[in-house]
Symmetry: C2
Subunit: 599 residues, 2 copies
Amino acid sequence: MPIDYRAPLDDMQFVLHRLIPISTISNLPAYEDVGTDLVNTILDEAAKFANQVLSPLNWSGDQAGCVYQDGAVQTPDGFKQAYQQYSEAGWMSLAANTDFGGQGLPLSLATPVNEMWHSANMAFMLCPMLTAGAIEAIEHHATPEQQAIYLPPLISGQWAGTMNLTEAAAGSDLSAVSTKAVPDGDHFRIIGTKIYITYGEHDFTENTIHLVLARLPDAPAGVKGISLFIVPKWLVNQDGSLGSRNDVRCLSIEHKLGIHASPTAVMAFGEKTGAIGYLVGEANRGLEYMFTMMNNARLAVGLEGVAIAERAYQHAAYYAKERVQGKIAGRSEKLPIVHHADVQRMLMRMKTQTEAMRALAYLAAAQSDFAQKHPEKAIREASQLRVDLLTPIVKAWCTEQAIEIASLGIQVHGGMGYIEETGVAQYLRDARITSIYEGATGIQAIDLLGRKIIRDEGAEARRLLAEIQACATDLSSSSSIPLQQIAADLQKAVQSVSKALDWVLHEHASNPQATFTGAYPLLQCFGFICGGWLMAKAALVSGRILQGDTRNAFALQKIASATFYSQAILPQVHGLAETVCAGASLAQAMQDSLTDLLR
Amino acid sequence: MPIDYRAPLDDMQFVLHRLIPISTISNLPAYEDVGTDLVNTILDEAAKFANQVLSPLNWSGDQAGCVYQDGAVQTPDGFKQAYQQYSEAGWMSLAANTDFGGQGLPLSLATPVNEMWHSANMAFMLCPMLTAGAIEAIEHHATPEQQAIYLPPLISGQWAGTMNLTEAAAGSDLSAVSTKAVPDGDHFRIIGTKIYITYGEHDFTENTIHLVLARLPDAPAGVKGISLFIVPKWLVNQDGSLGSRNDVRCLSIEHKLGIHASPTAVMAFGEKTGAIGYLVGEANRGLEYMFTMMNNARLAVGLEGVAIAERAYQHAAYYAKERVQGKIAGRSEKLPIVHHADVQRMLMRMKTQTEAMRALAYLAAAQSDFAQKHPEKAIREASQLRVDLLTPIVKAWCTEQAIEIASLGIQVHGGMGYIEETGVAQYLRDARITSIYEGATGIQAIDLLGRKIIRDEGAEARRLLAEIQACATDLSSSSSIPLQQIAADLQKAVQSVSKALDWVLHEHASNPQATFTGAYPLLQCFGFICGGWLMAKAALVSGRILQGDTRNAFALQKIASATFYSQAILPQVHGLAETVCAGASLAQAMQDSLTDLLR
């Protein structure tokens, strides 16, 4: 049976208080109440809820899955009750607007909380996560009347929300959306079928508010002709009470590799008379509205990667400490497998990569808070540029790495890892979706290269690399040999990544196909160097802690983790950067080798 | 629904006839009949069987799984009939000894045939694969009487065989085997429980011959006290007819991540009176006998990696050619996703890595044939050294890469890849076991470093690198710019890997933990450089083909594939080699970072 999850509060608090640090967020006018005590109290409470309520349902939910019958979906035993507890405890409202019942806390604080919950039960958390997306869309783009009707019950958790984007012929390319919205008085009739709708139908709440992308009759073709609509499952009366059933129906749910407890629905809108929908914001700006929300959604999915990686690590570490097998060179007694060098290598890969990803995800959340709430416009803008650059990296790199880490977790278990009852195979199956939904890795790589690097001629990317270089310089002046070594490795990595960056900036105009051939390796370069940077920064901070407290165990471990990261993980950037710079030759080779597919 | 599998005969024949080439095997006295026509006829027939009989059952078998009831196991619909067809067509006997009804064909020829079958239906093929292991053990170590009784029905496929090694406390470390063998007249009574027994119970055959590791009462502790026994499910009379049921029972089958159609059994020996078992060879030499067979078993599992990777590639390539989505820069018409640079990158990674792995697996098989059958002792010995070196590389590298390739196959499919009905998630689930069973990756890495590199002070490893360097030199004298580039990349890779090799040879005596920290990255180095070498060799051969046939499509594609491999995959060796050389620092960091687990 799967082991318990324990929130890694030590590392979370280190990142929040020492690396970010969250005190800079508390200085923002909107967040003056967010002191250290409040932060720690919320983390403790969230950890309890994750450990005691959500985690015990993770594996049973995976095994039971959801059951579809006649348009209704039954979630696994215990999930509905857990959702009620979740709502009643006020967790849904943590980061939501205070005008509608939210607690208005910063994303920096919601992020570790969300990490815990995704570690504890990712399939469960997809419902609150999608609801948060719907809340955000309505907060930013709906009329005050719409906000008054829909936000309070969504924020309280009384209702749930969904995002309806994908259609059979419109996946990564939403310009192909064909669902229709026909004007009908003060509302619209929505007609079309949406697929892959997370929690499109479920038994958690009395009502579900679907946000749906559809096309008006006179809309221009392509991305500029898509509008956003609120389509409630049950229509809502003026007084907020539920009216009649809308013409929306769940046709089926998917049989998936993982996240079995999260129903992925095919949704039919308007099979009979057309589902009643209400336009959000202006017509034809639906995709733009979606994109403003997508940053947060993408950061949230990247965080799922951190969360699954953490849980996979905890499980593997537990097993490696318990399982006695084989002889250790130079030791006569029987010892657990954690004493084998290769098991240590696997655990360290899992541990340090997860720590690096956590630091990056939390940093992006903090930058997002600055971008929203800093009183100075220049800082808001600078922070937004940084969030924009980091978002595809957090999304794609953390999720791709999470898949590898979950797979390593199986490997640490040997044959036991392959048996479903052990519970670690679930992490791989669950993690596998994270690099696909909310924009697959290839889309993130194109976003990073095209919109975030080429568009500003590399300005923000160079600012980031300069900051990383400055960190290396700081470290190199340390008197500690390990810190000097980390500095040297980071500096070398900056050189490789800079070379790759220069190459794409120089080549993209004349040879876009060659440049985009390197989009994913370039994203990996940025992921690993950001990871190396934040681990180096953690080592720097730890070095300072040790000056006052020479035996501080956490600081000693962190420096060791940073050393491992910079020598066993970071060196990947060199080969990846070479691959980026070989783009022209690779693009030609791909054309010449895939001739049978390209004709 | 999953697409059909089509055996990649073009690439198989290229590797067999042009790279290995198999004509060198046909020159061996034992294989004089193995001409080009015979090879091609067998490949064609095997391809038909794989495509028409085994492949259609792959996905249905995965979905249905096996059913356990009262000690019996029912395999999925169609599997029993397919096994009968398989046996009747004589496929079981392909590489078996002609003295007992086998066809005595070389492993070089059985290898592509096995690849096809594992691509078509890996879960099915595990039964013949384990039976082949049992045949090999009996051929090499049993008495002529035992051989006469057991080999003909095993080789004909009338009976099946299993290997019973693992116990709950004896996995990677077989020295902990505790199953007892008590002498009882001319036989033994076997008492103990074995786990993870592939096809330990099934409905394919009338009898199953279990090969079981157990310990005699007076046996020394550890690996030198384990003996090997034949334990038939049904006892066999002198005339070969079946006698009474032996005291062997399947207690349960596992609920696994993948290979659902292959029953993984818990086997109880001797619950009542002790299962009747017959000693194979000498007492206390069981583990040694197992190890002589394990080379072939490990090569076979490495080949499973090639096979799953090939099928994942075929499926992804098919989808990428069919699925229309998104706009391609510079093209106005709607085009399939294969025209996107990042999709091409993924497909090329899958394709070229699979080709490299295939070449390496076939090469190892050819070296094994030389080691067995070459008339000159010096060549037999040299070939054996090469097989010994290559075996852990083929096993671990091909399987680890297969997992990544299967995962990439899901990624190419986007959301569709996560839906089980698409069929590509199965490849990841099935592939995931290959890096675990028959010696997990960590065990292979230790084997490579300890037994295959350090033991002969790197002599064989250096011979291999010298051969790779010679290939680079050959290529560099080509007039073709792409071939020169491949040569330069290969040469650079040789330098990095040589550096890592020198480091471990220099350090291992003084710092074994540091050296073994680099065991897995070193294995990866050898995997990628062997892949780069064989792709370079393929480019060299293709260059020669083009001299006579300037438009030869296969040769043009192969050179493009080799270019991609050497610039997008091979550069990984540089970072990996750095990590190997950082072993001392990493070993210390692991100790310091994992203190909570190591105390």
